[in-house]
Amino acid sequence: MEEKKTTKCGGGFLAFVLGFLLSVVAGWVVFPGLLYSELDQPIQFSHKIHTEDQGLTCDSCHFFREDGSYQGMPTNEQCTGCHSDVIGQTPAEAKYVQEYVQKNKEVPWRNYQYQPDNVLFSHKAHEPFECTECHLDVAKADKAPKYYENKLSGYSKQTMKMWQCERCHAENGVSNACHVCHK
């Protein structure tokens, strides 16, 4: 009777610790892997070829329009300036021309800095800053980085969260009023 009880307690305690440790491991090691899905860009775009080899500058494709809005990712309208037909040897380009230019479809580029519709971001207002302060530095990259999508929220893992925007605004003495960034 006595002895039985103790073993019970002992076993029970061990069970407790076991459960505790298991969940901690699961939470810190397994969970993050499960939460995000690793994705590639629809086209393996090489900034390196365009910048270093072809000598394009950033604003050849990413530019401001007359009304102060920002082009962001180029559309076929810009790309077909050169790629109306295959001009290089890379399979990526061939794929682009066949699947998008010829089918007259826009490329569904994945935006590492994806923000939802309720966020209003003015590139014009942030012009003085280096692009790389918010964006991945891909200017010389030969390969598009992996894109990690949150399975639940649909957000990009690499994008900014609200607190980061707020911190920067606070540091620069810019208003953190809701409507400054929301629509």
């Binding site: 076993g11 505790f20 969970f31 939460l35 957000y155």
Partner: protein
Amino acid sequence: MGLDRRAFIKFVVGGAAGTLFTPIPWKLADDASIWSQNWSWIPRLKYGALTADATYSKLCPAGCAVKVKKVAGIAYGVEGNSANELSKGGVCPLCATGSQMLRSPSRVAGPMKKDGDKFKPISWDEAEALLADKLKGLKGQDGKVAAISGDLSGTANEVLSGFLAGLGSKSYYYMPTDQTAMAKAWNGVMGGSGQIGYDLEEADLILCIGADIMDAFGPVVRNQKAFAAKRPMEGDKTLTLVYAGPVRNRTAAVADKWVAVRPDGAAAFAMGLVNLLVKSGKSASLGGFSDFADLAAKFGPEAVAKLSGVNPEALKDVAKALLVAKNPVIVVGSESGQGAGVALSAAGVTLNAMLGSLNVLPEFPKAVASAPDRAGLLAKDLVGWLAAVDAGKAPAPEVLFVYEANPAYSLPQAGNMAKTLRKAGMLVSFSTFMDETAAMADLVLPAPHPFERLDDAQSPYGLGKATYALATAVVAPEKDCKGTPDFILGLSGKLGVDLGFGAFEDVLKAKVEAIGADWDALAGGAVHVSDKKGSAQASLDAGAMSKALAGIKGEGLVLIAQAHLNIGTGKLATPPLNLPTIRETELYGKDVFVQMCAATAKSLGLSEGAKVKLAAGGADISARVNLSEGVMPGVVAAPLGLGRTAWDPYTKGKGDNVCKILAVSAEPGTGLSVWAGSAVSVAKM
């Protein structure tokens, strides 16, 4: 020892406790709330360059000069084109949702042929072949082929009417509007030429007799602009607006004075003014004026009071105001923009002539030489013709084209009219939307949405100057549709009817050429305005007028149909985004409301919300009563545009169609079909 119950429980408890020290619960709570702002079933927005392309939107009767707003090339909105002198940056409630209507659930997907009681899609070529085949045999026989057009300003009419003429048929009719009565009066009875205009921009006093210029008469947006321009918030107004009509409608709401006039007594009221002006020495340089003045003498203030319910003092006040004004303009018409008689129109012309404000616009030269004259066609009486067909007095057409019109729904005594239309051997509808007429047609050949088509507008009725505007296709067609004039040109080629053009664009280019305007400027949204004046030569027919005026009784319960632009028009059911603009005192659930003042309700033994049956012309509708002191005693007002039987679930079966009980009668002396202020009986249900 095995894992017994207690140990297992402890294991679970431990697990739960441990989880709290991991990101799992916190991260999930956060992501879940983020998920709730990006639900997959909530539409995402498109981004890209914002552009706006100018065109002329003919969704509303007179049309609005608009710019179609696009994002990344996709139309999503509309803004006014302030460069355009027609609507000066204003937009009506229908054109404001033009971009949404591009993707309206009511749009016809492509050419269709009636097959039993269903439609079966066919190709444009099949449609053309089918029609060519049918028409071949009818060539050269008058009355076998007929057409009804609801577009009163487009050159497309020249193509269609020219085509009919080529087939040897004169049966080309316009849908009835205030312009019909005016054309019948001015171009018909009075033998004038050109088109009557109203220079509201220059007026310092506008007297509207019946005509609801802020909601139903002519180019509403331009009327609103002309009014607003002289009503600055800073400084004093330089325009007085007087409304004479049975209902305190939207025009009366902003008017300086509302004179309650029975709809059936409007002509008497006008004649009363003629009489008072004559008394104070005014006259008009119109043939037969003296006889007319004598006739007017019969309409002394007391007589007018009997016929129109206006007290003599009020009448005298209006006359005084007209006399002191520098540029008074009188606008006559019916509250609903249709069904008025020649008497009222002629009296209106005379009043303007007496006050030196008679304004005649010249017709623009035709592009299609073989097409009949516009003025002549405008004066034709569609309702009269259909009545004759119904009575067997006129032959039913073998083929009936319906262009930009919805006669099955929007003609007076709509029930009968729809029946008569069915008598046509083959009913062909060129409608953008699946309206009531298209639904009963044998052939539906969808016309492009106004933003998808090439079109034009010459001097929409109500303007003060001869004006020409061009509409260009600013978006690619959403459906398999084809410009009606282009289709007709193709068809005429097949039938060996030579209209002198192969494509509608060439027709318009010729038109613009003939007018002496600049195509590129017009295509860019500019409008061509001509200062040329037409001849004011005309003569009054006192005889016909006295007969017409003798018909006025000025007693009994009469019905006023109110055309509210926001609710839609005969050929455009309420767009989804306009539904919230319909008041709950106009439509609630499936009940349409008719407005009457407490006195009228009392005399009928009715109270607020009572369910009633309104009957006239052998038809009836059911409605509910809404008490409004804005309706004069002896008058019942009901909104047009409800009670759709086709279209989409947004409008279908909501309320009842007032057109059904607009009782038609022939105006004595002129024979024109009239129904403004027709008698109605109201019974409790």
